[in-house]
Subunit: 242 residues, 2 copies
Amino acid sequence: VGAAGSLRVVLISPRNPLNIGAAARAMSNFGFLDLRLVQPYTEAWREARSAVGAAAVLEAAQVCETLAEAAGDCSLVVGTASLGHRELKLPVRRLEYGARLIKKDSGAVALVFGSEKYGLSNEDLSRCHWLLRIPTRLEHESMNLGQAVAVCLYELARDARAAVRAPKGQRRASGADLDWIDALLGSALVQSGYIKDRTARSSELKLRRLIRRMDLTAADARVWLGMLRQICWKLSQTPPPA
Amino acid sequence: VGAAGSLRVVLISPRNPLNIGAAARAMSNFGFLDLRLVQPYTEAWREARSAVGAAAVLEAAQVCETLAEAAGDCSLVVGTASLGHRELKLPVRRLEYGARLIKKDSGAVALVFGSEKYGLSNEDLSRCHWLLRIPTRLEHESMNLGQAVAVCLYELARDARAAVRAPKGQRRASGADLDWIDALLGSALVQSGYIKDRTARSSELKLRRLIRRMDLTAADARVWLGMLRQICWKLSQTPPPA
């Protein structure tokens, strides 16, 4: 799906309105707004309290009789499944890999979730091109519907480049600022008697490393300089150590 | 966190027992079993119905008075936050990047979620080394607590290598099988009159590409060969095209 607009989230026979609302909320969080419900168990989903901030997604949701109808305009239909579905002859792809295939697809894609109780029927599975598996533990595979929707959509919205590049952070303190902090802290430690010999190379290096490990921002470095200047001034007012 | 065992999920003043149960379920799904609750609003969480399959996580959960107590054995404390927290001077890291830092950390890590209603207090934030942000839309940032826990733990459990390598799938059809299918389908099409000139190079290539695009497994190729052999046999029984 080139754009988020070409993904349809299809829930088959969902029973719990809270789950439908939670699915809608996750959709809105990650920018996927096209929800289709196949034979929802009750009408109560229309007022699901759990759809915090996602009333628009629920309002626009399409109700369908069959998956064939819900996915009629989709060129790729992907079911979500646990390993229990392995006996079906459909390829099962881990979410990390399957999401890439979905993102690369040039057409509309239906991402299909089965009912909380029964999952996807064989009839529904026969309409899927392949299955997506969230990599949960074998000991506890089955996820809550709303959480499964959230995890799948997060992976689709995920920016792989954001995983390797450092975020644009605040500006780091300059070497000159850090040197000033070294000098002032060293002075404060000598004046206070913590360091006996100011020129001892080992103390100097230890102090320098200590300060670098703080990984200060430019703004924080200025605060430290102010505090240390004040401390040094005050220390200079006291009698020298005996 | 080298192992999942060194991550603690900390929920601060959670109000809705269903959210606590959902958090426990996601933890169990992804293999993180150490839950700590700071001043939960009611005691009802102990029997949360939403903790399907995760009763053990709830039973082992620690109840604490403060975040300081809950994260007492952690060398890294990471809060979860929305962009609304930007005015705080804490670094905010996107989940894709922040999760890498957490995974690389050699010590125990606390992953802290604020209450549904108020998020993290300034007191709690002051104990965090940095903040993790789930990359939701600016128009609808705020996630459900149980879904936010699920998405964060999925990213921590995620296997980046699974995103690039194809899954161990079923064996693909061999070139020889595909050539047989080419030949049989070509024969069926000539016999049926769909192709007039069997030897036309362009039909031959079109057919070959059509078959390769099906991306058949070895098992499916055998089924196709059986079907086509039967069709060709039947076609050979009919009078030749006029």
